[in-house]
């Protein structure tokens, strides 16, 4: 981790969002936007700049599902398991993706840092259930086979 660069970027974020406690979540979101996760070095730095204890900031970061303390893959796939998607069979899609990529419940990112597979509890695209997103882009009416095709397309693009 290039801490110098991290501090510079964080300074810019703090200048934009503010250093008061109320900016906490926006600041963490902006850091995560840059790095796709929250590097551990950011906590002591934020603590110093925002005048809050590291434990406090860590507490906020771990409370919210969307903050990740671990690096994620280049492609973050979120399979919706909201009610509408669940009753239209989203779990087989999740299982297929996991088996295709050698992932499991506690293992979300592939070793080559290419894919991360997670679940999300509703994308608000319930009319198109079952849905998943790849880096935020919604893919509607999925099936296990379509999900595999999607992975293959992404792999081809990388190759």
């Amino acid at each position: 981790m290039n801490t110098q660069e991290l501090y510079q970027k964080t300074d810019a974020i703090l200048a934009r969002c503010g250093t008061e406690e109320r900016s906490m979540i926006a600041v963490l979101q902006a850091v995560q936007e840059e790095y796709a996760y929250l590097p551990r070095e950011v906590f002591p730095y934020l603590s110093q700049k925002m005048g809050l204890s590291e434990a406090h900031i860590y507490g906020v970061a771990t409370f919210y599902e969307n903050f990740s303390l671990e690096p994620k893959g280049k492609y973050v796939i979120k399979v919706c398991d909201g009610t509408a998607c669940h009753v239209r069979k989203s779990i087989p899609i999740l299982e297929k993706l996991r088996s295709e990529l050698g992932l499991a419940e506690g293992r979300k990112t592939t070793d080559d840092q290419m894919f991360t597979v997670e679940t999300v509890s509703c994308l608000g695209a319930c009319g198109l259930a079952p849905a998943l997103t790849v880096n935020g882009k919604v893919h509607p009416s999925m099936t296990p086979d379509k999900a595999v095709e999607l992975i293959e397309t992404l792999r081809r693009e990388e190759a």
């Binding site: 919210y64 398991d81 009610t83 509408a84 009753v87 509703c122 608000g124 695209a125 009319g127």
Partner: protein, 624 residues
């Protein structure tokens, strides 16, 4: 920048003139659903094609009206996502469904150049073709009030909103009404919170207006955490100014100068549309200091959630805006007294705010003409699950479930039998065919132990296992429990364990009673609404489908045939021709046999994945 009331009025007239001149329009749906189907590419292609053909098209409302121009707009969600990408043609009111890039040429050549309909793109149901959007059964049976402009205007244009009478209610509230008069109108309208609880909005505003402490805040709850609901998303994306106008009226009524909108992180498009709408209103001078020279100041800020369902609860939401962990606190004191930054706060849902401009403009009496005595107005529902027409609908309060599911929803998907509908998400309960004629309003639902909740309606057919549904919701709630109070933190975990073992075929005698006992304890002792309602789906499924629980526990059988661990798959020797296809696809080598002789499945090895069932050309593999 408009600095006075007169200037707003003349701007409105100019906008109306411009909108009238631009009667020919193509509206491409740019809601989340249609965008994922490629509607933005269709939009770009339409623009290119029209320009190439020399048809003058205007993407923004042109203030110098000339009659031959065609408006090409990106609209918000029509709620008919399943048929998307959608394109609406005006003034005819035609709706083109499932439009693809390949259709663009024909739309321009025929519809735009000659005014003809492209019939194959029109909606069809039971062999009948519906040209006009309003005639499609899905729309015909609805009463779209809050959603009336969603899909019909450019959601990114404040001028279009103004051209249909936008900010007229705000103007009226600001100049012609006292704070008391505004609140009286809201109270008399009988408007009740659309976020789940159904608390009278007027009473909430009265309490905040009465508080001495300042500053006061207006907070809009756009967290929409109920999985399976997307009404608020569609309003924020499709008609953002309407909700903002509602918040501004609340600001005038209670004397607040700052508003906050809390939007969940999964709705990036809603955030973009709202930010744009706020920036436009600010630029025009409708937000900011000394609005229209009235002396009233109001600003709106957006906060994005970070993935915690509990943040939809009022005190957790304000904690989250303050930059803290979003945990609910003990009440009282209530949000109206000690809300955001410990100050008096009006906290309402997106749809609640979106109702406000209509009430102020038309008056409480007019508003009450729709809906029931104790639940006036309309309600938006997200209709999803095993139903033909999934989507976003709006009906008068008091409409029956039967009308919603069979008339608007078009009945069950794939001809299966209706079994139940889950209403109110993880806090709600299920309703069965016995309740099909129950009016959907706050009080009727409460009587049968369900609730409107946010408005998610998930329809389930006979292949859905109700024990599994209860497990699904308990899993959700357990995951989302913030861990502050013991009954919710521990109780939901214990209930989930029991449900997990029941669906795995390991249920024990007495489990049902244990579930009910835990449910009773959690409901009565949890700190916030999340825990208090967590047991809802379990209690209601036990009430209506106790026999399904018993079959799982006593006979290790899933009557709906849905629970994978309880499936029993066998090959019918009379139908099996011994082709060996099934043994080749089986991932665990559980099927064996000799060619041209009936094959058999080893139940010890079988993982019940069901892969063999689909491959058998003779339909010889069955499960029971």
């Amino acid at each position: 920048m408009i600095a006075t009331r007169q200037e707003l009025q003349s701007l409105r007239e100019a906008c109306m003139r411009a909108a009238k001149a631009e009667s020919r329009k193509i509206l491409v749906c740019a809601g989340t659903g249609c965008v994922s189907g490629g509607s933005l590419d269709i939009y770009a292609a339409l623009k290119q094609k029209m320009e190439a053909k020399g048809i003058p098209c205007e993407v923004e409302l042109a203030m110098d009206p000339h009659e031959d121009v065609v408006g090409l707009k990106k609209s918000g969600c029509h709620g008919f996502c399943e048929m998307g990408p959608l394109v609406r043609i005006e003034p005819q009111g035609w709706l083109y469904t499932k439009v693809s890039l390949a259709d663009v040429d024909e739309i321009v050549e025929r519809t735009m150049a000659k005014g003809e309909i492209v019939e194959r793109l029109a909606y069809r149901q039971n062999g009948k073709i519906y040209e006009k959007q309003e005639e499609i059964p899905f729309y015909q049976k609805q009463t779209r009030k809050v959603l009336e402009h969603c899909g019909h205007i450019d959601a990114d244009s404040i001028y279009e909103y103004i051209s249909i009478g936008g900010y007229e209610a705000f103007e009226k509230a600001l100049f012609d009404m006292s704070s008391d008069e505004i609140i009286t109108q809201i109270s008399d309208s009988g408007l009740r919170g659309r976020g789940g609880g159904g608390f009278p909005t007027g009473r909430k505003w009265t309490q905040v207006a009465r508080q001495k402490a300042t500053p006061k805040y207006v907070v809009c709850n756009g967290d929409e955490g109920d999985p399976g609901a997307f009404m608020d998303r569609s309003i924020m994306e499709g008609d953002p100014h309407r909700m903002i106008e509602g918040m501004m009226i609340a600001g005038v009524a209670v004397g607040a100068e700052d508003g906050y909108i809390y939007v969940r992180a999964e709705y990036p498009m809603a955030v973009a549309r709202l930010s744009n709408a706020i920036a436009q209103a600010k630029k025009l001078g409708l937000l900011g200091e000394n609005i229209l020279g009235s002396g009233f100041n109001f600003n709106i800020h957006i906060n994005q959630g970070a993935g915690a369902f509990v943040c939809g609860e009022g005190s957790a939401l304000t904690a989250s805006i303050e930059g803290k962990r979003g945990m609910p606190r003990v009440k009282p004191p209530r949000t109206v007294e000690h809300g955001l930054f410990d100050k008096p706060t009006v906290l309402n849902n997106v749809e609640t705010f979106a109702n406000v401009p209509t009430i102020i403009k038309a008056g409480a009496e007019e508003y009450r003409k729709i809906g029931t005595e104790t639940s006036p107005g309309t309600k938006a529902f997200a209709l999803t699950g095993n139903i033909v027409n999934t989507g976003l609908i709006e009906v008068p309060m008091g409409t029956t479930l039967r009308e919603v599911i069979f008339d608007i929803g078009g009945g069950m998907r794939g001809g299966a039998d209706f079994k139940a509908v889950q209403i109110g998400g993880p806090s709600g309960g299920c309703l069965t065919s016995a309740e099909l004629d129950l009016p959907l309003d706050f009080d009727s639902l409460k009587k049968v132990g369900a609730m409107i909740g946010s408005g998610g309606l998930v329809v389930m057919d006979s292949h859905t296992c109700m024990v599994e549904v209860a497990r699904f919701f308990m899993n959700f709630t357990q995951n989302e429990s913030c861990g502050k109070c013991v009954p919710c933190r521990e109780g939901t975990r214990r209930m989930l364990e029991i449900l997990e073992r029941i669906v795995a075929g390991k249920g024990r005698e007495g489990d049902i009673d244990l579930l009910l006992e835990l449910a009773d304890t959690i409901t009565n002792t949890a700190l916030c609404g999340l825990g208090k309602t967590a047991a809802g789906p379990v209690v209601s499924t036990i009430k209506y489908f106790r026999d399904e629980y018993e079959a799982h526990i006593r006979e290790k059988r899933c009557p709906a045939g849905a629970c994978a661990k309880l499936r029993r798959i066998h090959i019918d020797p009379a139908l099996c021709k011994g082709c060996s296809k099934c043994s080749r696809i089986c991932p665990v080598g559980a099927i064996s046999g000799t060619l041209k002789q009936p094959f058999v499945i080893d139940p010890e090895k079988c993982i019940k994945c069901g892969a063999c069932i689909g491959t058998c050309p003779f339909h010889a593999i069955k499960e029971d």
